[in-house]
């Protein structure tokens, strides 16, 4: 690579000193950006042995070479050590974050240290300041956003506000970071890492203009990709009903977890289908900056708070995963209540997937008498939306010892109270796919413990045969393809568009012909780098366990085969270890 092309431009900000450094770091040709860059930066600035909430640990926000230059290249990768599990972790978000970083002139922002007082970091192409915002400590996510639009004024429309709520301040293990109201760095507790740094928010102002790529074919290539994503129907499923379109098919396939996954289908599914949400509550769509698809679905909750016909309006973004966690998993089948539960989790700055699944465990544990209403402060029962809203407030505010434990995850609580066998935890609280062995193993062993690590949930819906070697090959190959996309950084919804030949054209037009030719090798390098970090921070995929509940269910394929699932888990774990050993 040409040397200038190989350099990442990184702002490293020390909250304790209230000073930043611009660091030019080589490695583009090997690590691409995004996932690869985050791993590169954690290896440089992170401390594998230190606690996740140690002030010295970095928070890394990384974008990639294609960010802002092509459609759907609209995501930011956060790299950090997770307070949920103690391992190196990634979380991804869109909103305006990616383009704001691009137009702030950065490939990555690294935040280290702990601010002396609760603060907000404001970053722009010609601005860098740490604002004392002690008065925002304790404020919910939406109030924080509203006030910051005034406090950190400038670049309206071209600015990203990434902030935490009470859950992050209180160190909840699955506290999220809210990005521009409707998107999140959701899973694995980045919000708690920000809270431990006294960092209420990061505001990124995208206020610089960049030169056009030299390649004459750039505008033409952009046009071709734009036309493909907007007119081919390829992305229709994402902007029509959106991901909740999955509900009815999953329910039909006995693959939708209900009531702490005591069932995998239910006749009530139609009430909370994608169609029901669209017909009853959908207000409008929104988009991440730089993405013409507009997959963000925003529903309206009209809350009647007085008999004199007084209403409060809540606008709540919805998707399959949050809907699953606040809906069927909790036995809630009124779409408006599903959104109201989501809204409460959002205000606290809690990841709703983790929080909803943890509460589902708490309901079952309650019925089994493992703790009392004295612990939960509210009687938890499937279908009782009011109780769940109250519980989410208590969880976000770490109201007592019970919620402090539950805030470290349902498995942490189960280790104390009992009930590990029915905690729906696959590395972290499960996502909304009870599709079978492939998915359960993928989320359990996978790098992010996310449904997006691989296409396992889709594989389960198409494959009945039990072929350990074939499945492991699929998981290993699919992960690498996804790491390539999350290093560019593209939205994973774009994986049908950005095939290897298109990625090669993109990278060539941006002036990275060698990277275009060596994209697979670079993606492999990035993939292994992040695995190496995860292992260095203590993760052993062989020691993972799948709770008994996952072997007790029936999907369209029949009862889950526990022995096959265990063989698959071990084989995938060994394959992951082999990736790192091969180096």
């Amino acid at each position: 690579m040409a040397s200038d092309n190989d350099l990442f431009r990184v702002l490293v900000y020390d909250l304790a000193a209230a000073k930043g450094d611009i660091v030019m770091l080589p490695g583009r040709g090997e690590m691409i950006g995004g996932s690869g860059l985050a791993a590169l930066l954690f290896a440089k600035y992170g401390e594998v042995a230190a606690d996740a909430l140690d002030p010295g640990q970095p928070i890394i926000f990384a974008i990639g070479p294609a960010t802002g230059y092509f459609p759907l290249m609209s995501k930011t990768v956060a790299g950090f050590k997770s307070p949920y599990n103690g391992f190196y972790a990634e979380s991804h978000a869109g909103g305006r974050s990616a383009l704001a970083l691009r137009f702030a002139g950065l490939d990555a922002l690294v935040v280290i240290g702990r601010a002396k007082r609760p603060s907000v970091l404001v970053v722009g192409s010609r601005r860098l300041e740490l604002l004392d915002t002690h008065y925002l400590w304790g404020a919910d996510v939406f109030t924080t956003g509203k006030l910051l639009r005034k406090i950190a004024a400038g670049s309206s429309g071209h600015r990203s506000i990434m902030r935490i709520g009470p859950a992050g301040e209180n160190g909840i293990g699955y506290a999220c970071v809210n990005v521009d109201t409707y998107r999140h760095f959701g899973r694995l507790g980045l919000g708690a890492v920000m809270g431990a740094k006294n960092l209420k928010a990061v505001v990124v102002q995208g206020d610089a203009d960049l030169p056009l790529p030299v390649d004459k074919g750039y505008a033409k290539l952009f046009k071709a990709i734009h036309e493909q994503v907007t007119s081919s129907g390829m992305m229709a499923k994402y902007h029509d009903l959106g991901t909740p379109a999955n509900v009815l098919p999953l329910n039909e396939l006995k693959s939708l977890p209900w009531r702490n996954m005591t069932a995998t289908s239910d006749p009530e599914a139609a009430k909370i289908s994608g169609e029901a949400f669209a017909d009853e509550l959908l207000m409008h769509n929104a988009a991440c900056s730089g993405c013409p698809v507009g997959c963000i679905h925003i529903g309206m909750v009209r809350e009647k708070f007085s008999d004199a016909h007084r209403f409060a309006i809540h606008q709540v973004a919805y998707d399959h995963e949050p809907n699953f966690a606040a809906g069927p998993m909790l036995g809630v089948t009124d779409p408006a209540e599903v959104l109201a539960i989501n809204d409460m989790a959002d205000r606290q700055g809690l990841d709703i997937i983790s929080a909803g699944v943890a509460l589902a465990w708490a309901v079952e544990a309650t019925t089994k008498g493992l703790f009392s209403e004295k612990d939960t402060e509210v009687r938890l029962a499937f279908g009782d939306a009011e109780a769940f809203k109250r519980a989410l407030w208590l969880l976000g505010h770490k109201a007592n010892d019970f919620y402090a434990l539950l805030g470290q995850g349902s498995m942490a609580a189960a280790k104390h109270y009992g009930g590990e066998e029915f905690a729906c935890v696959l590395g972290q609280e499960m996502a909304g796919y009870a599709t079978g062995e492939t998915y359960f193993v993928s989320q359990t062993v996978g790098f992010r413990h996310s449904h997006l690590d691989t296409g396992a949930y889709s594989y389960d819906q198409k494959h009945k045969e039990k072929d350990v070697a074939a499945v492991v090959k699929f998981l290993i190959d699919d992960e690498r393809e996804r790491v390539l996309l999350t290093s560019l950084v593209g939205c994973l919804f774009a994986r049908g568009v950005y095939k290897p030949d298109v990625i090669a054209e993109v990278l060539t037009s941006l002036g990275y012909p060698e990277l275009a030719a060596g994209q697979d090798a670079a993606a492999e390098k990035a993939r292994r780098a992040r695995w190496r970090l995860k292992l260095a921070t203590g993760y052993d995929p062989v020691l993972t366990r799948i709770p008994r509940r996952f072997a007790e269910i029936t999907t369209w394929k029949g009862p889950v085969d526990a022995a096959y699932m265990e063989a698959l888990r071990q084989a995938y774990a060994e394959a992951v270890l082999a990736l790192v050993k091969e180096e």
């Binding site: 309206s156 071209h158 203009d209 790529p213 505008a219 013409p292």
Partner: protein
């Protein structure tokens, strides 16, 4: 003459594809600022989006403020022409615009909508349109055009 109007902004999803297209195709930059159309939220993304672009004033106060003839009134239909080689980067045009539609880049070069319509195909929700300049409609009301 045609005039570019953001006639259906209530459909806008905030993807910024229009601004990026104008920057890419007209102002030869990668930017969401260096463009003749820019998208802002009207107070957080939950409150909807607003397009900031030239309203095709006639007479145009920006042209009146320009001391060199870099910005001149279009022959008909309102709006201005921009001759970059005449611009001395004095910055008088931007504050003269009543709707803040002229962006001055870091060097002081003005960017304003030239009513060329190149951004329009990039809007996924058909918010933007080139309309006849002599059509009898108010320039500053967005949805009015569609309901004429």
């Amino acid at each position: 003459m045609k005039v570019h109007r953001a006639v259906r902004m209530e459909r806008c999803i905030g993807c910024h594809s229009c601004s990026l297209a104008c920057a890419r195709l007209v102002y030869k930059a990668v930017s969401w600022n260096k463009a003749g159309i820019r998208i802002r939220s009207t107070g957080g993304v939950s409150s909807g989006f607003q397009a900031i672009l030239c309203l095709a004033c006639d007479p145009a106060p920006c042209a009146a403020a320009c001391p060199t003839g870099a910005l001149t009134q279009r022959p008909s239909g309102g709006g201005v022409r921009l001759k970059k080689d005449l611009c001395i980067r004095c910055g008088k045009c931007a504050p003269a615009c009543p709707v803040d539609a002229i962006y001055l880049d870091a060097l002081g070069d003005p960017c304003v909508c030239l009513h060329c319509g190149q951004c329009i195909p990039y809007c996924p929700h058909d918010c933007l349109e080139l309309v006849d300049a002599d059509a009898p409609s108010a320039p500053c009301l967005e949805s009015c055009h569609g309901e004429r």
